[in-house]
């Protein structure tokens, strides 16, 4: 590998990127936009669930039950229904997510020591919200129930669960999303920037010119890669800075370890993007393939948001070859768990392997073209 030629290629690519000011601008804007959206707009914290009430008991006891739903902070009572027929309507048009039905016999049963039944009708179409709402409702009703039956006497329940959350004590969704987002951002850079770089030369006919120069394939691949490595590292640094300074995501591990792993992942992702670019020779195709091969797996199969544990075994198996999966466990491990290389050894090995495979593929395919 000749240094002068390598630098020349890198400079050419860099000039090309710089001249295309808008692409560069977007390469920096998009990560920031994603960070802002994920940081400010998104929350898995389910609150203010819209609740409608059909109270057919209309007693002090039933009002107290409704009151305990409201005061929990999880539910907002959006309407009191008059008839059973209204239940259908309220759920169908999405006005309410769940309806609490209190039967006429509620207070009488409660007073006589028989079990009083209340019904909870949920809009199950959004299964996630419904499941969480059901858990909240269950806790509220059973709290109410023990309060009422034990009124005047103090009998504590024999066991209670002490819930603890580790690594992300406040269960803030932002804390778990932002570290993983770094992996997604890098996959986007790979798909948006590198996947186009060689396909563009083919479409514009400049590939023949490049082939006619004495430049070695290794120099082309590495030279073209270098400016993107710079952009990628810059993006990651900015993202990490924003995460720490603006969103106050905890950082408990080693910065250098994160930097090293990031560099390896970046090399692999960019190499893969370049391989796709060289193999497809068309920008439309290359972007599509890069989306499916790098961006979507990083979004869906990395454990970034969607838990791998709940996937069917086929996807679990597929996720094992998705490099982003290991990188996400590295970022979450370093940001939130504060673990070191002893725990992340397997993931680190995966990063090394990924970088080697990504670069190897890019170099291999590129040789075929020039020959």
């Amino acid at each position: 590998m000749n240094r002068t030629r390598l630098v020349a290629i890198a400079r050419k690519e860099f000039l090309q990127i710089r001249r295309d000011a808008r692409s560069l601008y977007l390469a920096f804007m998009l990560p920031l936009l994603l960070l802002m959206l994920f940081g400010y707009a998104i929350s898995f914290d389910i609150r203010n669930i819209r609740l409608a009430v059909l109270d057919r008991s209309r007693t002090a006891a039933s009002r107290e039950l409704v009151e305990s739903f409201e005061s929990s902070g999880y539910f907002t009572v959006v309407g009191h229904l008059a008839r059973a027929a209204d239940v259908d309507r309220a759920l169908a048009d999405g006005h309410a997510k769940l309806v609490l039905v209190i039967p006429p016999s509620f207070a009488a049963h409660l007073g006589s020591g028989r079990a009083a039944e209340v019904q909870l009708l949920l809009d199950g179409s959004d299964a996630n919200t419904a499941t969480i709402a059901q858990n909240y409702a269950d806790a509220i009703v059973s709290g109410y129930s023990t309060r009422v039956t034990l009124r005047g006497r103090s009998v504590a329940l024999p066991v209670r669960a002490e819930n603890r959350v580790w690594y992300n004590e406040t269960l803030e969704s932002r804390n778990m999303i932002v570290p993983g987002l770094v992996a997604v951002i890098m996959s986007i850079i790979a798909a948006m920037l590198t996947a186009l770089t060689i396909a563009r030369e083919w479409e514009r006919g400049t590939m023949e010119q490049l082939a006619a120069t004495p430049v070695h394939r290794l120099e082309v691949v590495i030279g073209k890669l270098l400016p993107y490595v710079g952009i990628g590292l810059f993006d990651v640094a900015v993202a990490t800075g924003v995460a720490l300074v603006i969103f106050h995501v905890p950082f408990r591990g080693d910065v250098l370890l994160l930097a090293g792993m990031t560099l390896l992942f970046l090399l692999g992702a960019l190499g893969l993007g370049m391989f796709i670019s060289a193999a497809m020779k068309s920008q439309i195709l290359a972007t599509q393939v890069a989306m499916i091969a790098t961006f979507l797996p990083a979004l869906l199969l990395s454990g970034f948001i969607f838990s791998i544990g709940t996937m069917p075994w086929v996807l679990k198996a597929v996720s094992r070859v998705v490099a982003a999966r290991y990188y996400v466990s590295v970022t979450k491990g370093i940001f939130l768990k504060g673990v070191g290389l002893d725990v992340l050894a397997v993931d680190g090995l995966a990063m090394v392997l990924f970088a080697a495979v990504g670069l190897g593929l890019a170099i291999r395919v590129f040789r075929k073209e020039i020959a």
Binding site: L26, A27, G124, N135, P158, R160, M176, S282, I284
Partner: protein, 374 residues
């Protein structure tokens, strides 16, 4: 429209179709990748908690503590992946990510149970906060039920109380897939519309063939129609194919009528095409077009309620989502698939889609001829 105009559009549309379908790989992108993506999304986007990996440290090792662990396992939500009598092992299991939940039953649990005031520690890995929230809720419920049974068994608890009978409508088993798969359809259609329209126009500009078209008798309006019509046909075809896959493969029941879906789909596709055209007017290269598209696509998915509930967003972002066609369309597909909603239920969504499509189309029609000339 004159007959000459119709003829020109027909020829142009034929050329576009040929160009799109000529290449085997492009055909694969148009027809196979939506199906592939539906499979990926359909299986991956899943929030059901089943068999969560759980690590148990039972320091008491009595009949009572074993009964509690059994109560956890019996629900199907938790699966014991490891046991130990050293709390350090629990820490390791969570650190390595081998388990998401740790249950620690302290020594003297059975003794405290009869005396009242026993405690059991439930530790969840908060790095997956959605799963953690749900698992925590289940765990509290299981322990509460266990406590009530214990209390009732020794007669400490008066009979009666309140029973909650919960029933889920539209999706009785609370499977998240039924909610997510129809939404994926909407996301894929938008992606297809944006990508094919924006890149097709910009590609001609980049290759210089747009100049050839400029000197042909084709008017900008005719060019717009002939560029978007083939994409609309492909998008509708993909919509049908992907919906069919959702129904046949994922067994998502289609409660409503496709006829309710169709007008919304047409408006939605029209809006997507208009956005694609608009992007093509601000991009000189395919790379720019692709990135501008991404800049629109990503936020519109995040703010669509696709996976992140709109109700949980801050008020400002809730307002922003009203200007997002993806939000309105997802509400329509989900309501048609799961609730069997009709025209009357969905009029606000139709209105939203129509207004947005109209506005963007108007912008595109103004801008497109100008950028062609420039």
């Amino acid at each position: 429209m004159s007959s000459g105009s119709l003829l020109r559009i027909r020829e142009m549309v034929r050329k576009e179709f040929r160009q799109l379908l000529r290449d085997r790989r492009t055909r694969a992108v148009i027809f196979v990748s939506p199906l592939l993506q539906l499979l990926m999304f359909g299986y991956a986007v899943n929030t059901d908690i089943r068999d969560t990996a759980t690590f148990v440290v039972d320091l008491d090792a009595t009949a009572a503590s074993r009964r509690l662990v059994d109560a956890f396992v019996a629900t199907g939500y938790f699966e014991v992946v490891g046991r130990s009598d050293r709390p350090a092992d629990l820490v390791r299991a969570l650190d390595h990510g081998h388990a998401l939940i740790g249950i620690e039953i302290p020594r003297g649990f059975a003794r405290d149970l009869t005396g009242g005031g026993a405690a059991v520690q439930v530790i969840v890995d908060g790095t997956e906060s959605n799963s953690a929230t749900i698992a925590q809720g289940y765990a509290s419920r299981i322990v509460r039920r266990f406590a009530l049974e214990q209390a009732a068994a020794v007669g400490a608890l008066p009979s009666g109380g309140v029973d909650l009978r919960a029933r889920a409508w539209y999706n009785p088993n609370l499977e998240s897939r039924a909610y997510n798969v129809p939404a994926v359809i909407g996301v894929l259609i938008m992606l297809m519309c944006l990508l094919l329209t924006a890149l097709a126009v910009v590609r001609e500009r980049e290759l210089g063939t747009l100049d050839q078209l400029m000197v042909s008798p084709l008017t900008p309006g005719e060019l717009m129609i002939s560029k978007t019509l083939p994409v609309a046909v492909i998008a509708l075809f993909d919509l049908a194919a992907v919906s069919l896959l959702a129904i046949v493969w994922f067994r998502i029941p289609m409660q409503g009528s496709p006829l309710v879906l169709l007008p919304a789909a047409l408006l939605y596709i029209l809006g997507g095409l208009a956005v694609g055209l608009l992007i093509s007017t601000v991009s000189r290269t395919q790379q720019e077009a692709f990135m501008s598209m991404f800049l629109f696509f990503q936020p519109s998915i995040i703010l669509s309620g696709f996976f992140y509930p709109i109700d949980s967003m801050p008020r400002f972002f809730r307002w922003v989502t009203l200007g997002n066609p993806v939000r309105h369309f997802l509400e329509v597909v989900r309501a048609v698939f799961l609730k069997g909603a009709g025209f009357i239920d969905l009029w606000p969504q139709y209105l939203g889609l129509a207004l947005l499509a109209g506005a963007v189309l108007w912008l595109a029609v103004i801008r497109f001829p100008r950028t062609m000339a420039g």
